[in-house]
């Protein structure tokens, strides 16, 4: 066995895009593989949980975990990896903030099971069976399934996280910078998000077009607006662009594709709630001052979850919606 540092990669409640992002390092991945031994990566290589259980505590220099935690199995494995790893990196928006799967915190287990297993038009489930943690197959074999939690949790609500690699998915450069920092021992203060804390507006290619006094008198939805490609600041047109409340470092991929920022890199340092910070910024540029006119501007904004919490509902101050029964 070589004496190269050992790393682990694991996925929880995520789409696989983060693994894809690692592959997207292209030839950069060869440098990574030359520098470290990958000891655990269920998506790409054949390892068993037992291989990890047999490791010494702290044997892995680092584990990169993507996805939020939704199942008991995920909780067990990330706790195991915490024990076996010197450093834990929350990799990607879902591990960092809950991500898009975290929007499920607008529902709970009961409502999700009901919709998915009972009501769904394409289902054939006459007994209304929903997943059980334990059941008997053919009357004699015990089958077990992980428990499906009521909510989705960002990684740091389950285990201690040392660093965050933001993004949906993280940009190759963000990943390479993180790897370099680890291997060269140049990691910043524990708890840091490994991307610049400047807001995206600061690095936005459209920033020159932002008027000195930005005001809006209507909110527009991007798919109903036909001038997305005019190169002008989206906010000026009343399109919600999360730039003011989002950290930079993503390479402005969405902006360059003529789409507003949806906030996947998360808030800059010091902001506790990305959505509220964005709402607060937007409120201060709403133009009219009369109560009824303000009201009519606000009526053009039908939703506050998707525009402001696309990636961060579980890491927001309120964490989830309150369900009727509570």
């Amino acid at each position: 066995m070589s004496d190269k540092p050992k790393i682990g990669i694991y996925w929880c409640s995520s789409c696989g895009g983060c693994e894809e992002a690692i592959i997207d390092l292209n030839e950069g991945i060869l440098d990574v593989v030359a520098a470290v031994d990958i000891m655990f990566w269920p998506v790409a290589m054949d390892f068993k949980y037992d291989d990890v259980r047999k490791m010494k505590d702290g044997e892995l220099l680092a584990s990169f975990i993507n996805g939020g935690v939704r199942l008991s199995e995920q909780e067990d494995i990330v706790k195991l990896l915490r024990q076996k790893s010197q450093l834990i990196f929350a990799f990607g928006s879902c591990a960092h903030m809950g991500g898009i799967p975290g929007l499920a915190n607008m529902n709970d287990r009961e409502s999700i099971f009901k919709r998915v297993y009972i009501e769904m038009e394409s289902n054939d489930n006459p007994d209304n069976t929903v997943p059980q943690t334990e059941s008997l197959v053919n009357g004699k074999y015990k089958a077990e399934l992980p428990e499906f939690y009521n909510s989705v949790y960002p990684l740091d609500q389950i285990i201690e996280v040392d660093y965050y690699i933001p993004g949906c998915a993280p940009q190759p450069q963000t990943i390479l910078d993180a790897f370099t920092a680890i291997l060269e021992g140049k990691l910043p203060e524990k708890g840091s998000v490994l991307a610049p804390s400047k807001s995206l507006c600061d690095t936005c290619p459209r920033k020159e077009t932002k008027p000195d006094k930005l005001t809006i008198d209507i909110f527009r939805r991007p798919h109903l607006y036909d001038k997305l490609d005019d190169g002008k600041c989206f906010l000026e047109a009343g399109i919600i662009c999360m730039g003011p409340a989002t950290r930079s470092g993503c390479g402005e991929r969405c902006i360059n594709a003529n789409m507003p920022c949806r906030g996947c890199y998360g808030p800059p340092d010091g902001v506790k709630d990305q959505g509220l910070s964005m709402m607060s910024a937007l409120a201060s540029i709403i133009k009219p001052d009369e109560e009824k006119d303000i009201q009519s501007v606000l009526e053009s904004l039908p939703d506050s979850i998707i525009p402001f919490y696309m990636y961060g509902l579980p890491s927001s101050i309120m964490f989830r919606k309150k369900m009727e029964k509570e």
Partner: protein
Amino acid sequence: MTEKGFEPKIAAFICNWCSYGGADIAGSKRLQYSPNVKLIRVMCSGRVDPQFIMEALRDGADGVMILGCHPGDCHYIEGNYRTMKRHGMLKLLLKQLNIEEDRVILDWVSASEGEKFAKVVDKMNARITELGPLNWDKVVSRT
């Protein structure tokens, strides 16, 4: 759904230049008002970041009041207009998270309106008593 003996916990952010004066007058006039309102003095209602409001609700407040100068009277000219806009936006979020809108109110109290101060506080207290506890820790609990 009022629980027996429920005493609401209400956080009130009140602006230094008007509403705090109003509270002061209420005090010096010895007006009675509900004691379960915790006053937090801020320089302007415009200083009340929505994060303060949501943190208060998450951490145990059953209701939050923001009291500022009447429109047009803000010491910093337009602080209270911003508050009005933020509050309007916040109401949508509260609704979507299934938190009753009345748990967060915005009202105007000038430095001479001791009676009004006592009145809005009592009204808020009555409404929150009616709504019952928010108990956000139960909502987020894992079990």
